[in-house]
Symmetry: C2
Subunit: 86 residues, 2 copies
């Protein structure tokens, strides 16, 4: 039970970790210090994790990485919409 | 074999995903657009993943999250050293 709570908390925190970054970019309308390579590398990484999860038929790996991928796509879109406007 | 490559690539990409962000902050000497809450949330998340990995005695979970934690600690240190200097 304790370990289920620790695992679930770990998954929830990392899965939604880019929400505060999205809020910050939206609020400040600035993203110039954010590394696009980091966002791209993470997007490719979590996409491969999803594919690996599909192979393992592991619903948790698929969902957790799917959610992170959605937040990363939102962040990349915001990055491009704000970085181009100085 | 193919699935081992996909899994390893996924792990490597996500594990080292903050290296480009560290390089960008060092190079530009600026981190004001980076969300500290995202860095903190991820640090707590990967620390719990490490603890969960220790419970599972899974060397890969421990190592991958340990490496990410080190890069996050470096990034948080850089964040505070640059954000305080306008």
């Amino acid at each position: 039970m304790l370990w289920t709570i620790i695992g679930s908390t770990a998954a929830t925190l990392t899965m939604f970790s880019f929400i505060p970054q999205i809020i910050k970019v939206v609020r400040t309308k600035s993203a110039k210090d954010v590394s696009f390579i980091t966002l791209l590398q993470l997007s490719v990484g979590v996409s491969l994790w999803m594919i690996y999860g599909i192979h393992l038929k592991d619903f948790i790996i698929i969902t957790a990485n799917g959610i992170t991928l959605v937040t990363l796509i939102i962040l990349i879109s915001l990055y491009f919409s704000y970085v181009r406007k100085p």
